[in-house]
């Protein structure tokens, strides 16, 4: 008896000291060895930074998610949410200071994907994708993976969702019906005029053409960098980068905008308005421009509480911005890149996991209506997550009023899109970074006021062009042209 006891305690002591030694060495060994050692029994904790207003029940849901992932891939999940407005800046600091993290949400809008991939923030996924991402590769549209390559390498997994971007004119249907206005011939900016005129004359207190300071008239060009005036025409044959402000299309659009502005169709404060949310809530608007996706009209109508309809304002184009709209990357300093890749693979292919992350716990946050549809329960206010940023959208359960074929509609929409000529060309601004900083300042000075029609393009467009050139825009364009030519010579990769 006593002998057994001693032996037992001896074993116990050896085990204890072994684990101690292992865990003590573990950290340094793993980081030095490039992140191996995932075959142990101890589950790995993955830290996942994502965008959105922090939700009360995140930890509660992640505990359940972890139970599931532990079973499947022996990993647990710790999610950290950072609010919309803070995400880019806080992640900049977190990554620069080497904060431990494994999975990072990144996009062309929040915590810029291409720039941070080039700065070395993300782990190169090429090999991991082949090894652990086979299911994922089969599930998501291949255009996403090829379009999100930076310098011919994959640094992130794009969320499978709408692929092209298409601009539409949105109308407040109540007003359309009231004045029996016809939208069937609407497409160009000019074609809106008679409608705007009617609304302006008959409805006081309604903003005829709602927009915030980020509004830019649509012209058939694809921008090299979002909202900097360098672009390539969509039907280009010579791949020449031009200053968008010098194009006849933009000049015409700005002249029309200024006409609308002077006629009072546009709010006089549009150039400093941060958002049109209050107009949308009150319904005191007639039309605006937005990006669409299949069934968007239903979604808008449901969220505003009154009917909204839309008609196309552009073709559906697949651009870098649309492909890079939502990406999950693995952090370069991740200690468990393999596990992280396994998790991303599972998240993008496993319906149960994907929906748990999206809608929370069945019976607490939502209940199932049938095998495809779910309904939110009151508790869902404590776990209200943005769907677009959390992986494959096409696995998601449908809302009660979504048609059964919602995701088929998406697939149809995706296959109808045409590629931008510069799809997957990513400009590297390192060599001209001081010019870019100066150009950015000129842009901030003129952009909103010109685009909303506040300034008269007749006098201010030449002024803006001159200031851009002074700041070194021509040098930036020359550098971009050089890279674009090299990219084409290399087969567009």
């Amino acid at each position: 008896m006593s002998k057994m006891k001693t032996r037992f305690s001896f074993v116990l002591a050896t085990l204890l000291s072994l684990t101690l030694v292992l865990s003590a060495c573990g950290g340094s060994k793993e980081s030095a060895g490039g992140g191996s050692g995932t075959d142990g029994d101890k589950p790995v904790e993955l830290i996942w930074y994502t965008i959105g207003t922090p939700q009360k029940d995140v930890d509660k849901v992640m505990t359940e998610v972890s139970k599931y992932t532990k079973e499947k891939i022996n990993a647990t999940i710790k999610m950290k949410m950072i609010d919309w407005g803070d995400y880019s800046q806080k992640m900049q600091v977190n990554v620069a200071s080497g904060e431990p993290m494994d999975i990072i949400f990144t996009s062309s809008g929040g915590f810029d994907y291409v720039q941070n991939a080039r700065k070395g923030a993300f782990y190169k996924l090429d090999d991991l994708l082949d090894k652990y991402g086979q299911d994922l590769k089969k599930t998501i549209d291949p255009a996403f993976l090829s379009g999100s390559k930076v310098d011919a390498h994959n640094y992130g997994i794009p969320a499978n969702k709408e692929l092209p971007q298409q601009e539409v004119w949105r109308f407040n249907k109540n007003l359309l019906d009231k004045y029996k206005l016809d939208t069937s011939n609407i497409r160009s900016l000019d074609s809106l005029e008679p409608l705007l005129k009617t609304i302006k004359e008959k409805e006081t207190g309604v903003t005829a053409f709602a927009m915030d300071k980020n509004y830019v008239p649509y012209v058939p060009y694809d921008y090299i960098i979002q909202n900097l005036p360098m672009a390539v025409k969509l039907d280009t044959t010579d791949y020449k980068i031009v200053n968008i402000l010098e194009t006849p299309e933009m000049k015409e659009a700005l002249t029309t905008m200024h006409k609308y502005y002077k006629a009072g169709y546009v709010s006089p404060e549009a150039a400093t308005t941060g958002s049109t949310n209050d107009l949308m809530t009150s319904g005191n608007w007639f039309l605006d421009r937005a990006q669409t996706q299949p069934l968007a009209d239903n979604q808008w109508s449901a969220s505003y509480g009154y009917p909204v309809v839309s008609t196309p304002a552009s073709d559906a184009i697949i651009t870098n911005t649309s492909v890079q709209g939502s990406i999950m990357a693995i952090s370069a300093n991740s200690e468990h890149p393999e596990k992280a890749m396994e998790f991303l693979n599972l998240l993008n292919t496993d319906q149960k996991l994907r929906n748990m992350v999206d809608s929370g716990l069945e019976g607490t946050h939502y209940k199932k209506v049938d095998d495809k549809h779910i309904e939110n329960l009151p508790e869902s206010k404590n776990y209200d997550m943005p769907s677009y940023s959390l992986g494959n959208n096409m696995l998601l359960y449908l809302n009660p009023n979504d048609p059964d074929n919602k995701w088929d509609e998406f697939k149809k929409f995706n296959s109808a899109g045409t590629n931008s000529p510069i799809l997957s060309f990513n400009f590297d601004g390192t060599k001209v970074s001081s010019e870019l900083a100066a150009v950015q300042n000129v842009k901030e000075q003129f952009w909103a006021a010109l685009m909303t029609g506040t300034l008269d393009p007749e006098t201010n467009l030449p002024k803006a062009i001159e200031k851009f050139n002074q700041a070194g825009l021509d040098k930036v364009i020359a550098e971009a042209q050089k890279q674009l030519d090299a990219w084409r010579a290399g087969g567009g990769k």
Partner: protein, 309 residues
């Protein structure tokens, strides 16, 4: 050495009181000085953490400073930063000393407390909120100022696109927010002035005005000089919130609202080159440092006792 420890032992109570502040300065002001090295690097991430990232980033010399001086904007932002700060320092000094004297002369002490609190309150507000206060005055269709203009039959003014008004608006808003705080500092030192001086002056028949000029202001001058010297050291830093939030980032106003800090923010917010923003910060602090040394030198020449060091 022995002398040093003897001094240490002698002043241990005093030194102990300094300790928390010294620790704070060590961690938040001296330790980060090492980071200024980033200003001369093209910062790139390394998976081994911050120090490895610094070590492995490429040296780029003065390249990170170039963007500050490359366009005409360099002149505009330097001019705006300096002139606004000079206006803030001078007007702030005159108004807050005047307010402090007025408050100290009020006989009804309860009223004085109410005024003081009322003036102090804006100091605690964030610039975002102050920005909306200003907006409630300046909004085109619902702003108070345009309503008042309407009563007199005048046309409404598009405040957020008319740059000529903004030098005044910014100065007024800043003074409104800042004066309460500095006048309390002056008020505190006025209350510390020996009352017998005033009694003696009254016996000699000095008027209130003479008392203020001959007693209060001279007695205040050391604190005025210290406060001003400290402000001069920050003359190359602009209050970001004031110049960004209050004009609602309106592009047409940049000629009078763009200052160094907003320029740096706008130029780098998308590229996030921390090397360049560090360079801008280093440039600002070096100019501030030089200005403090020079102005302290000038003060010393005029009056040795009033100088900071």
């Amino acid at each position: 050495m022995v002398q040093f420890f003897r001094n240490l032992a002698k002043n241990k109570v005093m030194l102990f009181m300094v300790l928390p502040g010294a620790i704070w300065f060590f961690f938040f002001s001296y330790l980060p000085l090492v980071g200024t090295i980033v200003a001369f690097k093209q910062y790139r991430f390394s998976r081994e953490g911050f120090w490895a990232s610094i070590a492995k980033s490429e040296w780029v010399g003065w390249d990170n400073f170039k963007f500050l001086f490359s366009t005409d904007d360099a002149y505009v932002i330097t001019r705006n930063t300096l002139l606004y700060n000079i206006a803030f320092i001078l007007l702030g000094l005159i108004l807050s000393v005047a307010m402090a004297i007025l408050l100290s002369e009020l006989v009804n002490k309860r009223l004085a407390k109410i005024y003081q609190t009322g003036m102090f309150l804006p100091y605690f507000l964030s610039w975002v909120i102050v920005g909306y206060f200003a907006f409630s005055f300046l909004s085109l269709d619902r702003g108070m100022l345009n309503q008042i203009l309407g009563w007199f039959g005048a046309d409404p003014v598009q405040w957020y696109s008319e740059s000529k008004y903004w030098p005044y608006i910014l100065v007024i808003v800043n003074l409104w927010k800042a004066i309460g705080y500095s006048s309390v500092v002056y008020l505190a030192s006025i209350l510390g002035i020996d009352k017998s001086l005033y009694e003696a002056a009254m016996i000699d028949g000095a008027s209130k005005w003479q008392q203020i000029r001959r007693i209060t202001i001279p007695m205040l001058s050391p604190i005025i000089i210290i406060m001003t010297l400290l402000a001069v050291g920050r003359i190359f830093y602009a209050d970001f919130g004031l110049f960004y939030q209050v004009p609602r980032d309106s592009g047409t106003l940049y000629s009078v609202t763009n200052v160094i800090d907003t320029y740096v923010y706008r130029g780098l917010k998308t590229t996030g080159e921390i090397g360049m923003s560090t360079a801008a910060g280093l440039y600002q602090s070096i100019v501030g440092f030089v200005l403090v040394i020079v102005s302290n030198f000038v003060v010393r020449k005029m009056d040795k006792d009033s100088a900071l060091f």
